[in-house]
């Protein structure tokens, strides 16, 4: 694509939507600079993270709100408090993930392209089966799936569906249709696996992700999803 202002190749693309009017700009590096648009080099992930922790932290004096008690929570597993985590960006023990779950959720989503729930391998000892087992994955050696409680399995699939629905909405909003199609296909497959999984499972478990897809509010919805 050519630059809007000269013959060079456009490397900076800006999309603005103001009052429902969409404006696109395609500029080369030089013209972008002369217009005052400087493509920012993304900050390293750790810097981003600590910055984000500080911003998101409930303890930070945000918009006239007093510090919430969440900042004073201490992990029963290791004695780490949230302020310590905020400072170092690292956790003290496995229990920290439960202790600081609500504070961690938005932070983790941001560090992992919106990912809030594990979608990968499950250790044999956990008694769970691979939530992705239904999806044909190339190069994935078949793993001996332990006979796991169907309920757990169902919950993992439900979590995955909720996540995918959210991603689908985001992809459509960003006009990434190719990506959206992929997500849709995966959703279809997951729906296929979900139906016969556990006949006695309460209907609520299945309805949960549906209602969430409608809300489209990433923050609290993800928290209420467990």
């Amino acid at each position: 694509m050519k630059c809007d202002r000269c013959e060079n190749e456009a490397t900076v693309h800006e999309l603005r939507v103001e009052n429902n009017v969409r404006r696109e700009k395609h500029l080369c590096d030089q013209c972008a600079r002369s217009e005052g648009i400087t493509p920012q080099a993304p900050a390293p992930i750790t810097a981003l993270l600590s910055q984000f922790v500080t911003q998101q932290s409930p303890g930070a004096p945000a918009a006239g709100q007093p510090a919430t008690p969440a900042a004073k929570v201490i992990c029963p597993g290791c004695g780490t408090n949230y302020a310590q985590f905020r400072q170092s960006g690292i956790l003290g023990c496995e229990t920290c993930y439960e202790t600081f779950e609500s504070q961690l959720t938005p932070l983790i989503a941001r560090a992992h392209e919106g990912g809030t729930h594990h979608a990968g391998k499950v250790p044999a000892s956990s008694g769970l089966v691979r939530p992705m087992a239904a999806i044909p994955a190339a190069d994935q050696p078949a793993k001996p799936a332990a006979a796991a409680p169907a309920k757990q399995d169902e919950r993992l699939i439900a979590d995955r569906i909720a996540l995918l629905k959210k991603k689908l909405t985001e992809a459509i909003a960003a006009e990434k249709y190719e990506q959206a199609a992929k997500i849709r296909d995966e959703l279809h497959q997951l729906h296929g696996t979900q139906v016969p999984a556990a006949p006695p499972a309460p209907a609520a478990a299945k309805r949960k992700p549906k209602s969430q897809g409608g809300e489209g509010t990433p923050g609290p919805a993800a928290g209420g999803n467990r």
């Binding site: 490397t11 493509p39 080099a41 993304p42 390293p44 992930i45 750790t46 993270l49 597993g77 290791c78 004695g79 780490t80 400072q87 170092s88 960006g89 690292i90 956790l91 003290g92 023990c93 496995e94 993930y97 439960e98 961690l104 932070l107 983790i108 560090a111 992992h112 392209e113 919106g114 990912g115 809030t116 729930h117 594990h118 979608a119 990968g120 391998k121 499950v122 250790p123 044999a124 000892s125 956990s126 769970l128 992705m132 999806i135 994955a137 190339a138 190069d139 994935q140 050696p141 757990q152 919950r155 993992l156 979590d159 996540l163 467990r226």
Partner: protein, 393 residues
């Protein structure tokens, strides 16, 4: 001046032979030097290393050592207690990509650097503090190919990695996945059981939440001299960053690129399966970068041949005649010669020769190959001699 080196974990023959990842083979080896997949794991029931006391660190090390040496990862396993290994051996393992810089140095994860160590025996160690007094840590390595290495007590209790030559991410994942399945279990020697810290929601739990979930880091070491010469490299850097990938230097995090070697790796570890992450990397991202580099090389050959030839032969001339070589100059010149080899300008030298020289000219390797400790000046002489000998016409 030459002090004998105390019982080396790697014989000088093994050092010369080099590891699997240096073969200069495997898919797309003209651009991809090596592929690495690593998994981060912690053991349930112990605090992460940011909060572990000295006795706990030792207990973790003992438990892991026993499991790693008895669970059948490879026919032969080498174990090195990194905290008591001589500095030269630690550097040697770092140069061979068997341990990280942090592991060689020994740093408690997190916090500001350089805080004082607490003297209380079972107090948690200060995050970020250098492990000056031999905090227990180790590494297990599969022999003879060194393709599997498992670091114990790095940032997480366990860091499993498989390193292969060329673009072989699927094979590397399959192998590391197998190792991952073998490690948990009962340790007879310690009477304890090793199971991973895992939650259904967050997956494998890691010290830093940026690794949580699959705990997987997929990375490839690329040689991109064509893109550098044509000035296109910055675009690749920008594009890969937009895709949430990290671009790093020759020795990973925090290191500078040396001789146009770059590492690209994933950052997202949660919300995608291992298969998805691998597929995106191996089938979507890598082919593009590889083609881009090949195009740049073709362009140089066709349109700027004189420039390319000058660069390559100049480098070859320096390496064949220099009497003193610094490590920086060696890797820069070897990188240019490698470009000559893969574009067919240089005959009689293989990719493997160059890969091997890049390793052998590094400080610790040089000293081990020659069997003596040397100061910087002596190393510059020895480096030039070694390179001249290997590249002699």
């Amino acid at each position: 001046m030459s002090a004998p080196v105390p019982k080396p974990p790697f014989s000088s023959a093994a050092v010369k032979r080099g590891a699997e990842w240096l073969r200069g083979q495997g898919a797309d080896s003209d651009v991809v030097v090596s592929s690495r997949v690593r998994l981060a794991r912690n053991i349930t029931g112990y605090p992460f290393l940011s909060r572990a006391s000295r006795p706990q660190r030792t207990e973790i090390l003992d438990l892991c050592r026993d499991r790693l040496l008895t669970c059948g990862i490879a026919q032969q396993m080498l174990w090195v207690d990194v905290h008591v290994a001589p500095p030269l051996d630690r550097t040697l393992m770092l140069e061979r990509h068997l341990i990280s810089k942090e592991h060689a140095k020994g740093v408690i994860p997190g916090g500001a650097k350089g805080e004082a160590q607490p003297e209380v025996a079972d107090a948690p160690l200060t995050p970020g503090a250098p492990v000056t007094n031999g905090e227990s840590r180790g590494v297990a390595v599969s022999l003879p190919d060194e393709s599997v290495s498992v670091m114990v007590n790095e940032e997480d209790h366990l860091r499993l990695q498989v390193l292969l030559s060329g673009l072989e991410l699927s094979a590397a994942y399959q192998r590391v996945n197998q190792v991952d399945d073998l490690i948990p279990g009962m340790s007879r020697a310690t009477g304890r059981s090793l199971e991973y810290a895992f939650s259904p929601r967050f997956g494998y739990l890691t010290c830093c939440p940026t690794n949580v979930g699959t705990g997987i880091r997929v990375s490839v070491m690329l040689h991109l001299p064509g893109l550098k010469l044509t000035g296109e490299l910055e675009k690749v850097r920008r594009a890969t960053r937009d895709m949430n990938l990290a671009v790093r230097g020759y020795y990973g995090e925090g290191s500078e690129a040396a001789g146009e070697f770059y590492q690209i790796s994933n950052q997202t570890t949660l919300g995608k399966s291992e298969a998805q992450i691998l597929k995106e990397f191996e089938q979507e991202i890598m082919p593009q970068v590889i083609n881009y580099e090949r195009q740049a090389r073709r362009m140089l050959l066709e349109k700027r041949r004189r420039l390319l030839e000058d660069r390559v032969y100049r480098a070859l001339g320096i390496l064949r005649h220099a009497r003193l070589l610094s490590p920086e100059e060696a890797i820069t010149m070897l990188s240019d010669v490698r470009l000559g080899v893969v574009t067919g300008l240089v005959k009689g030298v293989t990719e493997q020769d160059v890969n091997q020289l890049i390793l052998l000219t590094q400080p610790a390797h040089l000293q081990r190959v020659l069997g003596q400790e040397m100061d910087q000046n002596a190393r510059r002489e020895a480096r030039a001699d070694l390179v001249r000998e290997k590249l002699a016409v």
